[in-house]
């Protein structure tokens, strides 16, 4: 009579024990999402609402002002924001490519995709720093409600990019330690969902703050 553990001990790189219990059951439908994915989707919805209210505040303040942006402040340039958009979109593609790889068990592809995504995300932040550096010489957030809401909205987005980069870095370290394989990669899926979301928010910001002033 020997005692045997019912579940393998949990540790990095091994299958998580929930999977062992799965053998008790018929195989799950392949498309069903993990509960962590649902939570991240709802968190993104919550954050999307946050940015929606910021953008609504931008337009509300604009509608109540005779000139928007006010006299003395030029309409924002489009060139730099479009380059920034390109870096974020490419970074989303890179992360997607990495996630696509780990679904097929390719750890190298995951690590490469995450690394490229992080590098492009850092480029975005560097470009935003440059944009702020330029703009702050012309107007401060305390100058008028326009720069106040401009810096607040873009600044909060930049903070979300930074937070997304921390998450990507976290997953990157776990990927290097071999935590993920073809079956267990929940954290990769949730992080990439958040990263795509941050990307979408940027596009909404570009359209409302950078592009829309060209039409009035």
């Amino acid at each position: 009579m020997t005692a045997r553990p019912l579940l393998p001990p949990r540790g990095p790189g091994r299958r998580l024990p929930g999977k062992a219990a799965l053998k008790l059951l018929p195989p799950p439908p392949s498309s069903s999402k993990d509960i962590a994915w649902w939570a991240m989707a709802l968190f993104c919805a919550n954050e999307a609402a946050f940015f929606a209210y910021l953008i609504m505040s931008y337009f509300y303040l604009g509608l109540r002002s005779p000139d928007w942006p006010p006299p003395g402040i030029e309409k924002p340039e489009l060139k730099l924001p479009l380059i920034m958009t390109a870096t974020l979109v490419l970074s989303s593609v890179a992360v997607w490519w990495g996630e696509h790889g780990i679904k097929r068990g390719r750890r190298g592809q995951l690590a490469a995709g995450l690394a490229a995504g992080i590098a492009l995300g850092l480029t975005f932040l560097a470009l935003q720093y440059r944009e702020y550096h330029e703009k702050l010489r012309h107007f401060l957030p305390q100058t008028h409600s326009y720069p106040s809401i401009f810096y607040t909205t873009t600044g909060f987005h930049g903070a979300h990019v930074a937070f997304g980069l921390l998450m990507l870095g976290f997953v990157f370290i776990r990927a290097l330690l071999g935590h993920f394989d073809g079956e267990e990669h929940t954290a990769v899926g949730t992080t990439s969902l958040y990263w795509h979301f941050v990307d979408c928010v940027w596009i909404a910001i570009v359209l409302s703050i950078y592009v829309s002033p060209r039409f009035y």
Binding site: P5, P28, W38, L42, A49, Y60, R64, H144, S148
Partner: protein
């Protein structure tokens, strides 16, 4: 022979499941527990502590207003007291107590062993507790929030309110918002993904429909308050311009953002109460709910319409006529889904055989008082009438009939109804009935005269009134009613404490109710269900729509099912107790305190600590309960 219900409750191997799910009896384990029953109970108890504090503030105001020209409270103290009364009741009592019942009951009602994210639940609780303490710490500095719970600018700009008062409010509520949002996401995923196999969405109890609607509303409404508070702090602390007309801002932006949040919030703190009623009334009418589907739809509809009526709080701000007409009409449509619910409750009683026990008395009083609050609501939704009633005691009467006569009475119904499940003992029935009648009389004597004082022109939020305006009788009546009401509440609180020790043992299903939470023992075992039930009806305990499924005792396991049909997808492992959630909540408290006292290094330290504790929390744990078994 045992029944199917008994077999669902009984574990094939009690010791084994208990070892997997129980919280050890140590102080550290007490802090680290993720058990939804323990945390739910703590939520309810903590919320009631804040209820007592908010009630004391209300009592102080009634003492001040009993007669004209009194000086019990200075005008400045009165401002702080009425602000903290509103803030406490809205944010620290009614929403958390409803969430607490939801966190306790949801897994039991859906046949699960836990909430979807037990550690997130632990974080929600600690963040709620610490944010409440943060807000109340303001009293020790003598600078409690003093801008009303709606906190209108420009009154709350630094120019007019230079102290820490408003910073306590803004930072405290941002901190509290993390708890509310986390709890809402947890509830939604639990309700959609952890229902027992077979409990398709149309078999789900109505309480869960209301808690689902409430949680979705929180996800989309809370950010509006967060944006408002962030902009306010940026303006107060760093001189940004959003709400001051001098440099392109507008005070109306605050009002829009606040009420875009605030009106959904009214339904957030009201809908779960209607859900509680839809559980209590069928049980004591001894029949299933009349119009179950319509009530579920009406609940969701109320939540949706709640996002389109915020301007009715702003009729007096001089908005365009067209806009006011639209929002007036939208506000009146709320009476349609509300009427569906009311007629469904009445229909259930009409076609049933009503048993008058304490929970049912509170439920019937809810219906009565909510109808009065609803009628005064339709009155104030009419723009011309609102011009007269705005900012008077008429509105105070209206909102208290809905939130106290409605929500709070439902909470008391829920307390009497589910207390036996939570503690294993019944609340005293005689004391309960006495308490109910005293509360019922006290509430109506306190709040009905406010309709009159409001119509006579008595303004809200003013610390006193002049003699000879005809307001003396109504105010004296209100104060007498408030005293009676407090006595009634005290009787129930005494009942809760005393019955804990000498209440009649309840048994599993003391009310003969039909829903799944009554299949567990009272109080439920650490693992809730010995066998995961398979459900095939709405009231499985009444019509036998329950079959014991597998025990899943190989680990901390619970099934995950599809969102609509509740088909089994897989069995998932639930996390174990941990302390990082508490560390995160404390780190956020440190960050909030740093922001409050404008010590940036402290705020940054708290922020970095919270990032690190989140990372530690998300890192896969090495330790794991491995069960030995005989080969």
């Amino acid at each position: 022979m045992t029944t199917a219900v008994e077999r669902v409750a009984e574990a094939p191997d009690h010791e084994r499941l208990k070892a997997l799910w129980e919280t050890p009896h140590t102080w550290l384990a007490w802090l680290a527990t993720v058990d939804h029953k323990k945390l739910g109970t703590r939520y309810i108890v903590t919320a009631f502590v804040f209820f007592v504090l908010g009630g004391l503030e209300a009592a102080l105001m009634r003492m001040q207003l009993a007669r004209p020209g009194q000086h019990l409270l200075s005008p400045e103290a009165y401002n702080q007291i009425f602000t903290m009364h509103g803030t406490t009741m809205m944010f620290l009592f009614i929403q958390p107590v409803l969430s607490g019942f939801s966190f306790y009951l949801t897994p039991l009602m859906i046949g699960s062993r836990e909430l979807a994210f037990p550690r997130l639940n632990s974080f929600s609780y600690y963040a709620f507790l610490l944010a409440g303490i943060f807000l109340y710490a303001s009293f020790f500095t003598g600078q409690a929030p003093n801008g009303g719970w709606f906190n209108y600018t420009p009154l709350t700009d630094r120019t007019f309110d230079p102290g820490l008062n408003i910073d306590f409010y803004a930072i405290g509520l941002l901190f509290l918002g993390t708890s509310t949002t986390a709890g809402a996401i947890n509830s939604i995923v639990t309700i959609l993904k952890l229902r027992a196999p077979g409990m398709s969405i149309d078999r789900m109890p109505l309480f869960l429909w209301s808690s689902l609607t409430m949680s979705v509303s929180v996800v989309f409404a809370m950010p509006a308050l967060n944006v408002a508070l962030v902009l306010l702090e940026l303006q107060r602390r760093w001189g940004f311009h959003f709400f001051d007309a001098a440099l392109g801002g507008t005070p109306l932006l605050w009002q829009h953002l606040f009420w875009v949040f605030g009106h959904p919030w009214v339904y957030i703190v009201f809908l779960p109460a209607t859900g509680m009623l839809s559980m209590v009334i069928p049980t004591f009418s001894r029949r299933p709910m009349v119009g179950h589907n319509f009530v579920a739809l009406a609940t969701v509809l109320t939540g949706l319409v709640g996002f389109g009526v915020w301007v009715h709080h702003m009729f007096a701000t001089g908005l365009p006529q067209l806009s006011m007409s639209f929002f007036s009409g939208a506000s009146m449509t709320v009476s349609i889904p509300s009427a569906i619910q009311i007629f469904a409750w009445i229909g259930t009683m009409w076609y049933g055989r009503v048993v008058f026990r304490t929970p049912m008395l509170f439920a019937i009083a809810f219906v009565f008082q909510f109808v009065i609050g609803g009628i005064s609501g339709v009155m104030t939704a009419a723009v011309p009438f609102d011009f007269q009633a705005h900012d008077t005691y008429f509105v105070v009467a209206h909102l208290h009939y809905v939130l106290v006569g409605g929500s709070a009475f439902a909470v008391f119904a829920a307390l009497y109804y589910w207390y036996p499940k939570i503690t294993g003992r019944m609340l005293g029935e005689t004391l309960g009935r006495t308490s109910f009648w005293v509360m019922f009389v006290g509430f109506n004597v306190a709040f009905f005269p406010m309709h009159v004082s409001g119509l006579l022109g008595m303004p809200r939020r003013v610390y006193t009134y002049l003699p000879g305006l005809g307001l003396e009788t109504a105010n004296m009546l209100s104060t007498i009613g408030a005293v009676i009401f407090v006595i009634g509440i005290a009787l129930t609180l005494w009942n809760v404490i005393a019955s804990r020790y000498d209440g009649v043992p309840a048994g599993d299903d003391p009310w003969g109710a039909g829903t799944l939470e009554w299949a567990t023992s009272s109080p439920p075992e650490d693992y809730n269900f010995g066998h995961i039930p398979i459900i095939s009806s709405r009231e499985p305990l009444w019509d036998g729509g329950i079959t014991p499924g597998p025990a899943y005792d190989e680990g901390r396991l619970t099934p995950r099912t599809s969102p609509l049909d509740a088909e089994l997808e897989r069995v998932i492992e639930m996390p174990e107790d941990n302390l990082w959630t508490l560390v995160l909540a404390v780190a956020l408290l440190v960050c909030s305190a740093g922001l409050l006292v404008r010590w940036d290094a402290l705020a940054v330290a708290g922020f970095v600590a919270s990032l690190l504790s989140m990372a530690r929390w998300a890192w896969p744990s090495k330790g794991h309960k491995v069960l030995e078994t005989e080969a």
